[in-house]
């Protein structure tokens, strides 16, 4: 029973981090209509940059500020240079993001190397729960994820930029006619998408390993969250990420992790076929 609760708790925390990454994927999809295959690698680049920040400054906390900022700039540049010229042809953007994914992975292999590394949690304290000493950092990670998610929704609904983003997504032509600078909104959206994934990377770096392959593993999971939550349905995406990781955590307590992954993939196919608008259509308004 204790193991079950523990895995469920792990799943919940991991789900909150995934929600952060999947949210970036979802806004890029919803606004730019791009299936971003490089998104997992944005996360991976976040973990690697967190590692470099720690190496260079000796201070992990700096990464929480610096890495999302670099991520934002990188994302904006990528949108401007790579995505903008082919924005209207979805098939080409898939190829371009696939190329981007290769470039990011190889760049990390060249600079960071291929050996997986670990970062010690910046909060070393533990506390007893369900019969073991649980890392306090994980709770902190969950807190950061919740604050970032809440902050993003506030940004989306309470600021001018956020309103522009929603307007362009809702009806691009009308938004442009009303004077919304759609071009800049696209750059902004891609930047924020990258920044969210990079922040997820920083938060997750002390929990998972830091290596060039993590993005490939995490990408299917993020897509599952986006699909099950409903394409472009942001609260649904966040909820689905938490739900999925929680379920996988529970299944892992009595079966192989691969079985857990297969069951969520099967769940995702069912959702795609039966309710392509996502599980939460109609609930979120």
């Amino acid at each position: 029973m204790d193991t079950l609760l523990l895995l469920a708790l792990n799943g919940l925390i991991w789900g909150l981090i995934i929600a952060l990454i999947a949210l970036g994927l979802s806004i890029i999809f919803g606004l730019l209509d791009i299936i971003n295959i490089a998104h997992g690698d944005f996360f991976m680049v976040g973990t690697v940059m967190a590692w470099f920040t720690l190496e260079l400054t000796g201070n992990f906390w700096a990464a929480f500020l610096v890495v999302p900022l670099i991520g934002f700039i990188l994302g904006a540049l990528i949108q401007r240079i790579v995505i903008q010229p082919i924005r209207n042809v979805a098939a080409l953007t898939i190829v371009a993001t696939f190329g981007l994914s290769l470039i990011l992975q190889e760049s990390v292999r060249i600079t960071f190397g291929t050996t997986p590394r670990r970062i010690l949690p910046p909060i070393q304290a533990t506390f007893p729960v369900f019969g073991i000493n649980y890392e306090l950092y994980r709770l902190f990670a969950a807190l950061v994820a919740i604050v970032a998610l809440a902050g993003f929704f506030v940004f989306l609904h309470r600021t001018k930029l956020g309103t522009w983003m929603r307007a362009v997504r809702h009806d691009r032509e009308t938004a442009i006619a009303m004077g919304v600078p759609a071009q800049r909104v696209y750059v902004l959206t891609f930047g924020i998408g990258f920044a969210l994934a990079a922040l997820g990377g920083v938060v997750a770096a002390p929990i998972t390993t830091v290596e060039f392959r993590t993005g490939v593993d995490i990408l299917p999971f993020c897509f599952m969250a986006v699909i099950i939550g409903g394409l472009g349905n942001l609260p649904g995406t966040a909820a689905a990420a938490v739900l999925l990781a929680f379920l996988e955590g529970i299944i892992q307590s009595f079966a192989d992790p691969t079985i857990a992954r297969i069951s969520s993939l099967v769940l995702m196919s069912a959702v795609l076929l039966v309710r392509p608008q996502g599980l939460f259509k109609g609930l979120a308004k």
Partner: protein, 337 residues
């Protein structure tokens, strides 16, 4: 009068002549290693062609063709290593397995289109990838299955087997050519025209009485067949099958090859595949980060030549011929090629 059609025909003949002469020509000017690279390129071109058939002619972007490639591969490997089959039954098993799973997954997948289709094909391939990794006794997981290849045929004293490099080359050339020829015939047939009609406008296609769902399913199974044959050939070629070939990165590479080469053209996938595999072979011995070049090339081609390299070539050819015609100052009425 030189028309684009004549130039294309001449290039096709030169290309076929080159492929037939390659086992003797290439060792004379480079070395024998490149003959097997050409064989590998042919196999992967067929795989890229399966993406092209779906995306270029039906408008469905599949990101999961590696699943059918993997089934073709495993059908052969399990047939030979576990069931002890000889060459042709194992070949048949591989292709049959690929077609069967394509039919099964196609029944569900082609109900969706566009983004949803792309995603569900990845999901299906991932499900079977994870299954293949976890069912180690049957599939060998990531380590894969190694096997020794039985001879293709033996009549009296004459034995044909893949241990003879030239036999292997021509077997692959013949099989791949046959598949491309079949694909060409299908595209030229009324069925192919119906598929293109669906690609261009599925609502209109339905309105003129085409059964869109059924036609998409047929195309999906045919693409599964092409991918299955290429997977089976690759298993023969490497005497090996592994779950890693079912991962979505393999599907993704085929999509890149097809789109960079030019979708909706018969030769696009061949051009794209050749380009990337030649780069890989040239660079990977000197520099381990050749994937960086692949990524940069993929991005450059989609930005600079959105119709792919073959599309670019065709446009250039038509323009060049038009100019040549204009300068020859003929006033005859010319029909469009």
């Amino acid at each position: 009068m030189i028309t684009p059609h004549i130039i294309s025909r001449a290039m096709l003949i030169a290309f076929v002549a080159f492929l037939i002469a390659a086992p003797w020509l290439i060792p004379a000017i480079l070395n024998g290693f490149w003959v097997s690279v050409i064989a590998e390129i042919m196999i992967w071109s067929l795989f890229a062609a399966s993406v092209n058939l779906l995306f270029g002619y039906v408008g469905l972007l599949s990101f999961g063709q590696a699943l059918y490639f993997g089934f073709g591969m495993y059908g052969v490997a399990i047939g030979i290593a576990t069931l002890g089959l000889s060459f042709w039954p194992a070949f048949g098993l591989g292709v049959f397995a690929a077609v069967a799973i394509a039919l099964l997954s196609g029944i569900f997948a082609v109900r969706l289109t566009w983004h949803y289709f792309a995603i569900i094909t990845v999901v299906f391939s991932l499900i079977f990838y994870f299954l293949a990794v976890s069912v180690k006794p049957l599939t060998g997981g990531d380590d894969g299955i190694n096997f020794t290849l039985p001879p293709v045929f033996s009549i009296g004293d004459v034995t044909g087997s893949f241990s003879d490099a030239n036999f292997q080359y021509f077997f692959i050339l013949a099989t791949v050519s046959l598949c491309f020829f079949l694909m060409h015939r299908v595209i030229q047939s009324p069925l192919g025209k119906a598929l293109v009609a669906i690609r261009d406008n599925d609502v209109r296609a339905a309105l003129i009485g085409l059964n869109v769902y059924q036609l998409r399913l047929i195309a999906f199974v045919m693409a599964g067949f092409l991918a299955g044959v290429s997977g089976a050939l690759f298993a023969f070629f490497g005497r090996y099958a592994s779950a890693s070939y079912m991962f979505y990165h393999v599907s993704g590479e085929a999509v890149v090859w097809a789109i960079v080469g030019g979708v909706g053209t018969l030769f696009g996938p061949i051009v794209g595949t050749t380009l990337f595999i030649v780069i890989r072979e040239l660079v990977s011995t000197h520099w381990e980060h050749h994937a960086l070049i692949v990524g940069v090339m993929a991005i450059l081609v989609v930005i600079l030549a959105p119709k792919g390299l073959v599309g670019l070539w065709n446009e250039g050819l038509v323009r060049w011929c038009a100019r040549a015609e204009a300068t020859s100052a003929r006033t005859d009425l010319q029909t469009e090629p």
